[in-house]
């Protein structure tokens, strides 16, 4: 399994993997963890006025409370869970789109490839955030699945590019020729011969898709377009920027979600570097790993 190989070969992958595992554990255990933080099974982390507003960090509230009197730690756990879920759906959807287009372009070649490549480069070059924001502004309601699909719609070009270039080189390999001469169909060549070789790249594209979805999500939220009822980390950043917590010296309210997001980005990036340096020998000299 490529994950085990990467774990053995790359220190970057180990660090990134552990960070992501911690975040994932928080996301999964969130219902239990936030009960622990709130010490009251009947209170939801989202309900307002539960505690005194703007309390400083203390034993009772390790991360303080926000303007609406909510425990920051419990909110943070919830934010990690929701943001992770959105990023995961968006990242996987984007990878799915990217793989399909990348395979069609790389495997078919010719004018199909030319059209798909031009289109992909176009989407890559065009500043996507204004388009995404405009789209979100006109949508009547935004739920978690809608949000994820929106984000995925702009996160696929990267995957298409790497999958296409990999398919181009792989389809020249002798084992693919052998499969073709032994009369295997296109589908069976794609799924049984080529795809298994691309698993590490799929890992990279899920990670890249997740982090670009996350990036776009914060963008949407900072404009104030995300749904206010879904507590993502981006929404927490937006709310604290909006209420001017820096100007009144309550910086931890802003820095709690920001540092979670940074941990998320760094973890995904380290996983990428680890996977690439473990499976792309040409790059191994780059990271000196």
């Amino acid at each position: 399994m490529f994950v085990v190989d990467a774990w053995k070969r790359s220190g970057y992958f180990r660090v990134g993997g552990i960070m992501l595992a911690v975040l994932l554990a928080i996301a999964v255990l969130q219902p239990w963890l936030s009960q622990l933080a709130l010490q009251n099974p009947d209170v939801s982390p989202m309900s307002m006025g539960t505690f005194e507003p703007y309390a400083d960090p203390s034993l009772r509230h390790p991360a303080g409370t926000d303007k609406l009197g909510r425990d920051m730690l419990a909110l943070l756990f919830l934010g990690i869970r929701v943001s992770m879920l959105i990023a995961l759906i968006a990242g996987c959807t984007a990878t799915g789109i990217g793989i399909s287009l990348g395979f069609i372009a790389g495997y078919k070649g010719g004018w199909v490839d030319a059209v798909l490549r031009t289109g992909t480069d176009m989407v890559l070059v065009i500043p996507s955030l204004p388009l995404l924001i405009a789209l979100a502004a006109y949508l009547p309601t935004i739920s978690i699945p809608v949000m994820s699909l929106l984000l995925a719609a702009f996160a696929w070009p990267f995957t298409t590019r790497i999958i296409r270039s990999q398919v181009l080189t792989l389809k020249q390999r002798p084992f693919v020729d052998l499969a073709r001469t032994s009369d295997q169909g296109d589908m069976s060549i794609i799924f049984l011969e080529i795809l298994p070789n691309l698993l590490p790249f799929l890992g990279v594209s899920v990670a890249v898709g997740m982090s670009s979805a996350m990036l776009a999500e914060i963008g949407l939220q900072l404009i104030g377009l995300g749904p206010a009822s879904i507590n993502t980390l981006g929404l927490m950043v937006q709310q604290s920027v909006q209420s001017g917590v820096l100007a009144i010296g309550k910086w931890w309210i802003l820095f709690a979600p920001v540092s979670c997001l940074i941990a998320f980005f760094v973890a995904l990036n380290l996983i990428n570097i680890g996977l690439e340096s473990a499976f792309n020998p040409r790059l191994r000299s780059v990271t000196g790993d």
Binding site: V125, P127, P130, L246
Partner: protein
Amino acid sequence: MKPLVSYVITRALMFLLSIWGAFTLAFFFFHLIPGDPVSAYLQQLEQQFSQTVDAADAAAMAAEMKARLGIDGSLPEQYWRFLGNVFIRFDLGPSFINFPKPALEHILEKLPWTLWLLGTSTIISWILGFVVGGIIGTFRNNFASQFLINFSLVISQIPSYFTALFALFLFGYWFVLLPTKGAYDPSIEKDLLNPRFLLSVARYAIMPAMAVVMVGVAGTLISTRSLVTTILGDDYLQFAHAKGLRRSHILMRYVLRNAMLPQITGLALSLGFVLNGFYLVEIIFNYPGMGSLFLSAIRLLDYNLILGIVLMSITVVLAATFIIDLLLPLIDPRIKLSD
């Protein structure tokens, strides 16, 4: 025809073609949005003034609005009118801000601020990342290089509006050194020949530019370093080394020159991404550029202005790519020779 002339003509045609393609994409994108912009705007007005309008009146209002905005008629009809308006008359229609002030006028007022800040910070971060990346690629095995590369690997993925928030907190609120909002000191007369005004413009630009530069440098540094590492393994450099040329000479004369070309192309590819983050940085600092204008357009659901800003962003990125393409023959002699 001279190869250079044909190169320029091909590039110019490609530029116009991609502008047309991207504009068409944007046009259909805006017309396929579920729930049309006009009724969304009318609903927002109803909520704002807590009034309810009966269905017949609402329909009449919507029709009137659509005619004013130039989005009535069938889709092909609208598309032709759109092309004529944008490419021949340079007209984006009226904006809701100071109606009927044209949307294009709003955009042109804000565009110089964005271009100045974005241009300066992109160029600074590219040059800095390129030079430092080249140096730590050549001198790889010391603590400083190792530290710099690992630091960059971590920081390169952090969005620039986070570095903006850090800068804001550190220099704006903790040590009160730099202004936190706006683009110039409003108490100084706005005059481009006034040195005090120019000084305040530069001072107000430091923080937002720094936020973009920090992230940009890290990205360029990583890719330059990997390029330099690959180039250093090439035979002609082994030879240059064996000939006894100094390392600094090899770096300047051979390595960086060869690394420059792919790095400049890379810059062109990343501009859209840079612009995305840049708008958010503008919003954080209340910088009076296109990003802040976009925010007010979104709040008002100002259809023409939103579409206009999207089109202008696309134009800025594609034009910058085109200029970079035109500069390439200066750096790469091969383009001049081949035909």
